[in-house]
Subunit: 253 residues, 2 copies
Amino acid sequence: MTDGTPPMKSVIRAFEVLDVLWEVNGAGPSEVATRMDVPKSTAHVYLRTLEETGYVINEGGEYRLSHRFLTTGSRLKHRSSLFRASEANLRELARETGELVSLVVEEAGRSVILHVESGNRSLELGIYSGMVTPLHTNATGKAILAHLPADRTDEIIDTHGLERLTDETITDKETLHAELETVCECGYAVDWNQQVKGMGLIGAPIIVDEQLKGAAGVVCPTGRIKDETYQRELLQKLEGMIDSITIKYRYGT
Amino acid sequence: MTDGTPPMKSVIRAFEVLDVLWEVNGAGPSEVATRMDVPKSTAHVYLRTLEETGYVINEGGEYRLSHRFLTTGSRLKHRSSLFRASEANLRELARETGELVSLVVEEAGRSVILHVESGNRSLELGIYSGMVTPLHTNATGKAILAHLPADRTDEIIDTHGLERLTDETITDKETLHAELETVCECGYAVDWNQQVKGMGLIGAPIIVDEQLKGAAGVVCPTGRIKDETYQRELLQKLEGMIDSITIKYRYGT
DNA sequence: GGCCCCGTTCGGAAGTCGCGAACGCGACTC
DNA sequence: GAGTCGCGTTCGCGACTTCCGAACGGGGCC
C-alpha cells in the first residue's frame, strides 16, 4: 500500500482513455487527445492498443467501449460462490413478495450490488447489478458494516466518510455506531429515505462459518415498508431465504 | 486496421495480467510472474498499477479482478438506447410466455447477449447477459446476419468461420446463405439444437429507420418449440414486442 | 530456531513510449 | 472543380519508463 514504486504511467493512461471513452460515449483520437491534453498521435496509439485488447471497438474511426466489460463482469458474477448459491432464492423471494430483492457485497469499502431480482410490483429506481453505493446509506450496507471486524468498519468510515445522499442519511459517526450496534443485536437492518427519497430497504447479512460473505435485502417504496406487519413479514421471508442461501453456500454444488 | 505502428507493449501486458487473474481467480505476484514468464518484480508493478485503476483488488497480497468490470459493463448496458427501449417489453414477454427472452447485438462479428429476462418455466442453460456466441449458431444471430449489409455478412463469415457447436449447427456456407435468404423473406429466424442440444430459439431483428439495431428472441426447450401452433404463438408475440420496442426506440424517452 | 517461500523495494541498463511533423482522405466552401 | 479544413493515421528520433536481478523483511512450516 505504500507508494514505493510509482505505478506504470502508460497503463494508468490507458485506463484514463477508457474513462474518457465512457464519458463521451465513443470518440475519435482527436477528441480523446483534446480531453486528455496529449498529442493525437499518442491518443491514437492508446486507442489502437485498447482495440487490440478487445475492450474497445473501432467503428469507422470512432472508438468506443465494447461489451467485453459486460462479458467479463457477468462472468465474474456468475463465478462468485455467493451469487451461485443465491440466484434461485433471490428470484423466488422476488416472485413471492413482488418486491425488488438485492444481493450485495462489500468491495474497497463500498457496497456493490451483485445481483437484483425484480418482482411484479417492484420499484424502478435505477438499481442495477454492478451499482456501487456508500455502505452507510442503506440497510444492506449497514448489515455489512455491523458484521465486519470493528477495525475494518472504522477504517471504512474514516476513509470514505459519511456522504449525505438525502436529508435522512446518517452522517454522524456516533449515530451510525449506535445504529450498527442495534443492527448487530437484531441481526437485520432497516432504512428508509436514507439513500433515495421514497425508497426503503430491509437488509440482513449473509454469514457462513462465521465469515461475512455479503448481505441481501428487499427494496420497497417507503410507504409500503412503513407498515409494521408487512415489514415483519418481509423480514421473516428474507431471513428464511438467507438461511437457505447459507446452507446452499456451505454444502452446495 | 493495418499494423503500421505496433501496439503498446505495457498496455497489452497489463491486459494479459487481467486475463491471468481471471483464469486463476486471483493470485499473487509470484504466480502471475510464473504464468506470464516474467520476473516477479515486473508482475508486481503491473498488479500495483492495475490496483490503482480500481479494476484489480489487493486483499492481503492476493490480487483479483474487482467488480468494477460488472459496474462498467452494466453501465454500458443501461446506457444503450436499445436496452432502454426494450427492457420493460422483454420482461413483459417473459412473464407472458414463461419463457426466456433475450436481447442480442452484434459486436466484432459475434453475438453479444445484451440482456435476458427469464419466465417462470424458462430454461436454465447458463445464458447470461454479456454472453458471447457465434452469430450463425442461433436464431437471433441469424436474424442479424440476414439483415446486415451483404458484404459485412460475408466478411464476418470469412473472418470467424462457421464453428460447429452441436451436430445440427450449420457449418456450410451455401446452406447458411440459403437459410439467411429465407430469414430475410420471413422476417424471423428459427433454430433448434444448433447451439445447444435441447435448446430452441425464435429470433427476429430489431430495425429502426432501416438500420439494424440488434435482435430479440425467445428461448425454449426444443420439445416445446417444435409444436407449430406454439411456435406461431410465440412468433406473433415476439413480433408484437419488437414493434413496441421499435416505436419506443424511434420516438422514446 | 531455521528454513523456505512469499510480497515487496531498489537502482541501473535496455528499450519503449511520447511527440511533432507529415500523409491521405473525405466533406464542405467558394 | 479546385481549395481548404479537419479527421484518422503513419513515421522516426530523443527521452523517459519500463524492465530486471538482487536484496529486504515477514509469515508459516518443519
